[in-house]
């Protein structure tokens, strides 16, 4: 009908508008948006996906300009949680993966998504809780401490509680490792065993806040905890034990449609990260703000029982088809949670 014509014209005009706008946007995308003090950015972009606990310490913001100026690259750091980081990497939306979850990293490598993994620094997790330590875990090993908390928590006088990240992050994975080492089936005996065990589903900072509010115990990395000094009324109680080892690794991502320039630049990042200068910088980070360093670089000495490669140059441009003979950079004596639990 003829009356269709005019209305269809309207639709066409609207569509043209959309296409035009889209065109402008696409044009805008090939040049990067402008940070306040810079001229038009034509540098190569490298996307680094990391975890919130690591990002929130501020280490990466500290390292970013150093790398960018050396290689004239625009480093885009996105921190959305360990799970998201790995997802992004698998879909090819990240070029470099920087997390602290060895079990998940090994699976990642095995599945052919990554290469050139280098474990470059470490610190320790801690079990923190109320100063009066109602469960009496001071001086125990992490496994004994967890056992004590669980037993008393289930017995249920309500004053013993534990807040877990509950979000499959690196920290959460490490927590599960401790439960497993203590002899518990996480899914059956820990989760849903009572109101004492709270699965927050949140980032480290918010989990700490929740623990502080509830006077509960929780499992945290040192860096995040330090940044909350003075704001919470929970303190470190157990900070020694091999299962508290927190290993940070970096690797090049090989996923989606890998582009050679991206892989080269990602390898550059890995190589730069493990140079002695950078490692020293990492070791010094935090001293002025917290009075102590937040990270111990592997260059200061690899802890007992840990195998970490932090020296071989990153050269692979595609993952080896052969499984490495020795598992690189895994936690000693730790019984790793199965990939399924993660």
């Amino acid at each position: 009908m003829i009356r269709m014509k005019r209305l269809n014209q309207t639709i066409i005009i609207a569509l043209l508008f959309v296409i035009l706008t889209a065109g402008v946007f696409i044009a805008g995308c090939t040049t990067t948006s402008q940070p306040v003090n810079q001229t038009t950015d034509t540098r190569q972009k490298l996307v680094l996906a990391t975890t919130t606990s690591l990002y929130d310490t501020g280490l990466l913001n500290y390292l970013e300009p150093k790398f960018e100026s050396k290689y004239n690259v625009d480093l885009l750091i996105t921190s959305q949680g360990t799970g998201k980081a790995i997802e992004l990497a698998k879909r090819g939306d990240a070029d470099v993966l920087l997390v602290h979850s060895p079990a998940q990293e090994m699976t990642f490598l095995k599945e052919g998504y990554g290469m050139n993994r280098r474990t470059f620094a470490y610190n320790y997790f801690m079990i923190v809780g109320p100063a009066n330590d109602p469960a009496g875990i001071k001086g125990k090993t992490p496994e004994e401490a967890f056992k004590a908390i669980l037993t008393q928590g289930i017995a249920g006088n309500g004053s013993i509680m534990f807040v877990s990240r509950g979000d499959a992050s690196g920290t959460h994975t490490a927590e599960q490792g401790v439960w497993k080492k203590a002899g518990y089936d996480y899914a059956k005996e820990v989760q849903k065993s009572g109101n004492w065990y709270i699965e927050a589903g949140k980032g480290m900072g918010e989990t700490l806040q929740m623990a502080g509010e509830k006077g509960a115990y929780t499992f945290t990395d040192e860096g995040t905890f330090l940044s909350y000094t003075g704001k919470l009324n929970i303190v470190p109680i157990v900070d020694k034990g091999t299962s508290l080892m927190n290993l940070y690794s970096v690797m090049t991502v090989y996923a989606g449609k890998p582009q050679p320039e991206k892989i080269t630049m990602a390898n550059n990042f890995v190589n730069w990260l493990i140079t002695s200068e950078t490692l020293t910088d990492i070791g010094n980070y935090g001293k002025d703000k917290y009075g102590k360093s937040l990270f111990t670089p592997m260059s200061s000495g690899v802890p007992a029982g840990v195998t970490a490669d932090f020296t071989s140059p990153a050269t692979e441009t595609s993952p080896l088809k052969v499984e490495p003979a020795v598992a690189n950079g895994t936690v000693p004596d730790a019984i790793l949670p199965d990939a399924k639990n993660v």
């Binding site: 209305l7 309207t10 959309v18 946007f25 995308c29 948006s33 003090n37 750091i77 940044s227």
Partner: protein, 231 residues
């Protein structure tokens, strides 16, 4: 409560000293939300007109669907758009992930149902009488639609303002598409989320106050412009 008071003073401080990070983040927030709103309005006003003026089977069902989409969780929209724009997704070649333009697209998708629904409601509010008068005065079909949209302009503007408010306060989509990358895609809302996660509540409040201030300026500006159109 302390943090709220501190938040106000921190907000004031950041503004007065023209803190460059703040300016960049605020400008980006404004840019992304405004563009998303304009894009969404450009699509929904003609589309709303089309849906309103045409009779077709399933029209009521469509309108119900649109209104249902008011409640769509933003994370779902974020996921959907992410899958589209991901490098391994169908529109990955556009390279829109981690860019403000990608965020504009995501936010536009989010607010389109709201603005569309309100445009249709606005048009429904124009009486049959007015429509008859316009037709009787010899308007072509196109002119009729244009005039009725003009008659409904205030209600439509209200819808657009609501869309803008929704866009600028959006966290989920902004985070998932933009990645909260410092200096590139960090906007007020994702910065607030970051601050909260790091326990910096006063900063979070400060940013929230600034966001509201910007919103107010935009709303006032939109109303001012619409009043200029009044004879």
């Amino acid at each position: 409560m302390n943090e709220i008071v501190e938040g106000f003073s921190q907000a004031g401080n950041l503004i007065v000293t023209l803190n460059p990070d703040l300016l960049q983040i605020a400008a980006l927030s404004l840019y992304v939300s405004l563009c998303a709103t304009i894009l969404a309005a450009g699509i929904t006003i003609p589309l709303g007109g089309f849906i309103h003026f045409r009779e077709f089977r399933g029209k009521q069902a469509l309108i119900t669907l649109i209104q249902t989409l008011y409640s769509i969780p933003t994370v779902i929209v974020g996921l959907l758009v992410y899958f589209l724009l991901s490098r391994s997704g169908p529109l990955g070649f556009l390279g829109l992930l981690y860019s403000p333009e990608g965020m504009i697209l995501g936010e536009a998708v989010l607010i389109i149902p709201i603005i569309l629904g309100l445009v249709i409601t606005a048009l429904l509010g124009i009486s049959r009488n007015i429509r008859d008068t316009i037709v009787s005065l010899g308007a072509t079909e196109f002119q009729v639609i244009l005039e009725i949209i003009r008659e409904a302009r205030f209600a439509i503007l209200a819808g657009v303002i609501l869309g803008f408010g929704r866009a600028i306060s959006e966290v989920g989509v902004a985070m998932m598409i933009g990645g909260n990358i410092r200096g590139e895609t960090r906007v007020l809302t994702t910065a607030i989320m970051l601050g909260t996660g790091m326990g910096e509540f006063s900063l979070a409040f400060a940013l929230g106050i600034i966001l509201l201030a910007i919103s107010m300026m935009v709303v006032i500006l939109m109303k001012f412009i619409s009043r200029r159109y009044e004879p």
